[in-house]
Symmetry: C2
């Protein structure tokens, strides 16, 4: 079954500094608190045991007595666990999926206890509201940042840390696991690796396996960091970080997360400054160039280049359940609501269809819904109000 | 009118070193010679006068007595004037459009005199068969490479130098101007700026204006060079060149010039080396990563980073005729055969349609034809045999 959801795109204007986490402010009352979950010891899928693994998390709504009303939201590549609500009423914007998570909303926090956690190797190391463990963290054994001595981690590791958090709360089964983009990858991973714990799964703008095309495009994201000599094979802590490369990397992410309907419609061929015509000097920019570069530079200041590279690696290695898309199809037992945007340039329509067809062929009860907009991939973060009907129906059935 | 051309894609296998210039070898007899055209003085559209401007060129077939049978082929971003034939019978591959240019072929060199020239700021400065003038050239006034003192040049400048070459041969009107990708940009430019000299125009896989989306993606191509400290604001001649950045830049070009049908179908999730699993180390690669990186590194050795950046700039500044797409539509008088590939990731289907619709609205007699394949953009270089029917019909009518 396929739902086509009509309706105009969410228009977010030029709030590019908040970039992909910028949502539409709505009147709502959800005030949330960031908490920290700590595991004294965690062994990665690659077999390395890490001490004192910490991740931030937050929750909305109340866990019921039998702990049967919990929903887990997983975040996207450059996001964190701030899925909904505000830390203070004066915050400029709420969490990224606030349009669908809150009191009376599609994922109703009057009914459900919704939680979300920061992943391992989360990008936002300079954000005080993010807690993560990764190459920029201090290795308790050496007193220095791990840098590239940090083990390769997978989406499976992200999920295993979340599972420890969920279990620490006494939750044995989740009503729903959901998330956009890399959050969709975690959603399929949960459903394939812990089918007994996932009642329903809602991956948004994401596939159940990284194909060659995604693997190659993720290299395009990473390229500017790898050629920035300040990256220095990951050893830049206490020195000049590779922020020129990281800023360009983040600009690439922003561009691919959007669609030409947005860049063309918003910027056209306007110069960044009327007085500095792009034709006059190599460094003079069109507006679209300067907006993307500025957004990348702002984000780079609160991000870590090694964490970016480890996230790229985790996404490249990804196949739900650790083996393959076909294998995932045989493991997933939960009904799946797959929401996608046909103009998505990261997880393209044909990639999404390959996941949908393979899962259905494997016997998965899969429903698709589609959202629209000028932003492409990013619509799965900022334009989710369009999908509230299918989400409500999926949760209720 | 739209032709849909059926037929399988040209399969080029893994000849990635020759990359986007790799064509299908065919039995043919065209042996060509590279020549050099020199202008003692050329004034750019930006107003700088350059001395001793040289570009390479080649030709196929014979110019008739009244010089009325000439066709000009314009090359793509990373290409040169080797459009057809071989320099020696033992050459591994012929010129890139050899499938449609030669004796008895769609562009029949028994009938037409076909010529092609290297552009200004051509990328392939290390290729002995390419002659160009750009930042890597010696400034006669200083005896040193221009580096960033070379003026910004435009697609209009590329065309003006070609026009001088064409006129030096006594040709006053071209039967056809044609070319793929950046060659299409030059084709529209010719038709808009010199309508009295262009009888017919055949742009392939290209639009008549760079929109915001293309401008932004060209920045993604350039990013790895700009963050490579060896680029040194363009001053690397006689020092270590920014080849790490240039190699990554060329890898990005190769990826975007192809389609996921090719990367997924060719490489899947195979590791580059069975013994070095991608999950074991940050630097271990999947095959698709290693093929693209190796292709970029090989090409970087014979390319120049500043020339790459100047080409990016020329493409970003581009609007046929120098003003806008709508303006070009009012200037172009030649009938146009626009050939495109709906899976093109550089000039996407919606961008091509915007050009087609705007030109038609402006009164241009425009016919569209479509080619297919797994390569996307690159099919406009390597799979052109599919289009021979529409090309013959267009030339004959």
């Amino acid at each position: 079954m396929k739902h086509w959801i009509a309706g105009a795109a969410g228009v977010v204007g030029l709030m590019m500094t908040g970039m992909i986490t910028t949502g539409m402010a709505q009147s709502q009352e959800l005030i949330v608190e960031k908490k920290v979950f700590e595991l004294p010891s965690y062994t990665t899928q690659s077999g390395r045991t890490l001490k004192n693994v910490k991740v931030g998390w937050e929750s909305y709504g109340t866990l019921n007595a039998d702990k049967s009303n919990a929903i887990l939201i997983c975040h996207f590549f450059s996001g964190n666990s701030h899925a909904a609500g505000k830390y203070a009423a004066a915050d400029a914007a709420p969490g990224y999926w606030d349009a669908i998570v809150g009191p009376g909303k599609a994922i109703d926090t009057n009914k459900y206890f919704v939680l979300s956690s920061d992943t391992l190797v989360n990008l936002n190391t300079g954000d005080p509201k993010t807690t993560t463990t990764g190459p920029a963290s201090i290795d308790p054994d050496t007193g220095k940042p791990y840098a590239l001595d940090f083990p390769i981690v997978t989406v499976g590791d992200f999920v295993n840390v979340q599972k420890a958090l969920v279990e620490s709360l006494g939750i044995r089964k989740l009503v729903l696991v959901a998330g956009p983009s890399m959050g969709a990858l975690q959603t399929y991973e949960w459903a394939a690796s812990y089918p007994e714990m996932v009642a329903k799964a809602m991956p948004v703008i994401g596939a159940a396996e990284a194909d060659a095309q995604l693997i190659a495009w993720l290299d395009v994201w990473a390229a500017p960091i790898l050629v920035d000599q300040n990256w220095n094979n990951g050893n830049y802590y206490g020195k000049t970080p590779p922020n020129a490369g990281l800023a360009k990397a983040l600009a690439v992410v922003t561009l691919q997360a959007n669609h030409g309907d947005w860049t063309n419609g918003t910027f056209g061929r306007r110069p960044a400054k009327e007085s500095d015509a792009p034709a006059k000097a190599l460094a003079n920019k069109f507006q679209v160039q300067s907006i993307l570069d500025n957004a990348g530079e702002a984000r780079a200041k609160v991000s870590d280049a090694n964490h970016f590279l480890y996230l790229v690696k985790a996404n490249q290695l990804y196949a739900a359940g650790g083996i393959s898309l076909a294998d995932a199809a045989s493991k997933i037992k939960a009904p799946v609501l797959l929401i996608s945007q046909p103009k998505d340039l990261v997880f393209t329509a044909d990639t999404i269809e390959r996941t949908a067809e393979t899962l259905k062929k494997g016997g998965v009860n899969l429903t698709q819904a589609f959202i629209q907009g000028t932003r492409g991939h990013l619509d799965g973060v900022i334009s989710m109000k369009q999908a509230e009907g299918p989400i409500r129906a999926f949760l209720e059935k």
